[in-house]
Assembly symmetry: C2
Homo-oligomer: 385 residues x 2
């Protein structure tokens, strides 16, 4: 059964001390339902990683259903580390495509700034392999820094070669009123940034923040086609895993889960890398962006970092990425990120990208990565008109 994105919304990211996690989620939920012009969904699926440790709330989907005025509907929270958002979309899509519900609301939400940064960093480490990574003190920046260093040594690159990804992300955030870091950075800013975990600095790292995004997924024939905007269809999506710990992989520089999920999503959508007009990459760290570009078929191994140039990845480049600022500058509220990516990809398909609109975008891909590339969901959306 064909499924469509019939409503979408995203809140401003940043330090949202004005709202609790339930109200932040409800803000996105209600706006997405308004956008879909419906108040009837059969279920709500919430993508969230850390509401227990950081917001003292589990059973979160029921809480959000209640806050959003949807008491009665089925409610399920989905957790897959930083890939929770896209995994929630996968679940909602299956509930619709199987005929269980005509329409399902997905809300991705994370509240990360109501506690100390140290506590939040420790909580994020729960996504690493507890016994073989986190217990030994490895945080995510540390794990990815090792991957970045291995890449630089294997292929002979310098730190500076990665700068273009962050420069592009910050530039694009300027045109996104919902983004957290709406200011430009230069290559020199990138190079001079304080080191977080060598060779990675602050300008390699996506910021912790609060945020919520929502989409409504509806079965074909169960909504009225609108005259004022094109329909957006979920052409295909897939999830895949790798070993949880980086050290146990045959090749730590090959993202097998990105390869597998992208391959299957391409198959289902009937497209290939050359057909993608917009790519919302999971740019939590540039090294991950590079490896994901390679595994998803956009560059050969060892050449992904060469895409960090404006004619490649800028809004008018060959493959625009991080079009609304990406994780780096829009912000990375972890469980919400995958839903933000979906919304941002679909904005271009609707022609609602504002000053950041990618011209003539017809097929958009979003890739959401959890753990150290341990679980990855790739989704491809298409414009119908």
């Amino acid at each position: 059964m064909k499924t469509y994105v019939t409503g979408m919304a995203r809140t401003r990211t940043g330090e949202r001390w004005d709202v609790s996690i339930r109200d932040l989620a409800a803000e996105a939920a209600e706006e997405a339902l308004d956008d879909a012009q419906t108040d009837r969904v059969g279920a709500i699926v919430v993508g969230n990683m850390l509401s227990g440790p950081l917001a003292s709330q589990e059973n979160l989907a029921t809480i959000v259903a209640d806050a959003a005025g949807l008491v009665g509907v089925e409610a399920i929270k989905v957790e897959a580390a930083c890939a929770s958002g896209a995994s929630a979309i996968r679940v909602a899509n299956a509930l619709v495509a199987s005929g269980e519900h005509d329409s399902v609301l997905v809300v991705g939400v994370e509240k990360m700034t109501d506690t100390s940064p140290g506590h939040t960093t420790a909580a994020l480490s729960l996504a690493a392999d507890g016994d073989y990574e986190a217990l030994h003190g490895a945080t995510f920046p540390a794990l990815v820094a090792l991957m970045m260093r291995a890449y630089m040594e294997k292929y002979g690159y310098d730190r500076r070669d990665f700068a273009g990804f962050s420069v592009n992300a910050h530039k694009n955030a300027m045109g996104n009123p919902k983004a957290m870091l709406r200011r430009p950075i230069t290559e020199e800013d990138y190079m001079k940034a304080p080191i977080v975990s060598s060779p990675m600095g602050v300008m390699d790292s996506a910021p912790i923040c609060d945020g919520a995004a929502a989409i409504v997924i509806t079965a074909e024939g169960r909504f009225d086609r609108r005259q004022d905007r094109p329909a957006v269809r979920l052409l295909g999506s897939a999830g895949a895993t790798d070993t949880a710990a980086v050290a146990t992989r045959r090749d730590p520089l090959w993202l097998e889960a990105a390869y597998r999920s992208a391959k299957r999503a391409y198959q289902l959508a009937g497209v290939g890398p050359d057909d993608i007009d917009v790519f919302e990459a999971h740019d939590a760290f540039p090294a991950i962006t590079v490896l994901a570009l390679e595994a998803s078929g956009f560059a050969k191994p060892g050449q992904g970092v060469m895409l960090a140039k404006c004619d490649e990845i800028c809004l008018r480049g060959r493959l625009p990425i991080s079009t609304m600022g990406g994780l780096k500058a829009r912000g990375h509220p972890v469980g919400a990120t995958g839903v933000y990516q979906a919304v941002e990809a679909c904005l271009h398909l609707r022609g609602e990208g504002g000053s950041n609109q990618v011209e003539n975008a017809r097929i958009a891909m979003a890739q959401n990565i959890g753990g150290s590339a341990a679980c990855i969901v790739t989704s491809i959306y298409g414009r119908e008109d």
Copy 2:
């Protein structure tokens, strides 16, 4: 598309200090795959509530996939408080019924005894409404005790009237080699038990424990029908919610989410309460059992507690419940419980219930309840031969 339970397993419950959460989950996963005679599933869905706070591990489905030798498959964790297990079954079933995967493994797992009981009780309170219940010190026993007292006062019952549920559960656990509390209790034991939250005592309360259970769900036509046992089909299931906080419900003694989910499951399965041969009730507390029996159509409001008699609920009664000990005596590893219930219901349909076999069981229902009856999943399974 019709879907079947083609494999199932459950571990011994109790204090499983011999294994970590990943190994406990893998134990059930591998046994269920063996039972299904397959090593090929497209995804793993893990039902779990508290792996973050209690086992220092999120991204749990990827971790379990890795531990169970399933690296590569899609992996999703589902959280819906104590209804996490059945919600995971709902997600897996949708992934199969939508055609995304031919076969999906569900693992319910919880590790609750590696920390202090006080810490575990606090973590369980994360399933209550954080702002309106938990923050004020309300634990689950306290919330349910208020419901039990209201029931007793409204309908004129005594504490003793509830005893039969716990007596039945402990009796049935004697015949279940995987159960935690394999010892009988009498009505006097029930009455003399230390009070936890008046009017509820220890013998009203399901024990905290570790445990994992697993089932394999497969699409019709994607598995070989076996000669040595009947096929078990998931006839219908549904999830529904009520307000998160008990105090905001119109009637705290009416479980609207049980009513809604049971009604839809009956519709999908084409059966009614009179057709149910086995009912795995969510007997975390007898007051919840009573209200669930009423809302699910097995008794009129105010009369559910009258079913606490052997000719009603025992293995040879009119509606056998808690047939393998229920939450009360098999144990309640919260995120795993819904999967234990599914396995136990299906054991009767396969004729593999051992000394606890319910004769001629053809239709079995399981009901999994999260929060103070805030989110509820009802599932109905049928025997085909």
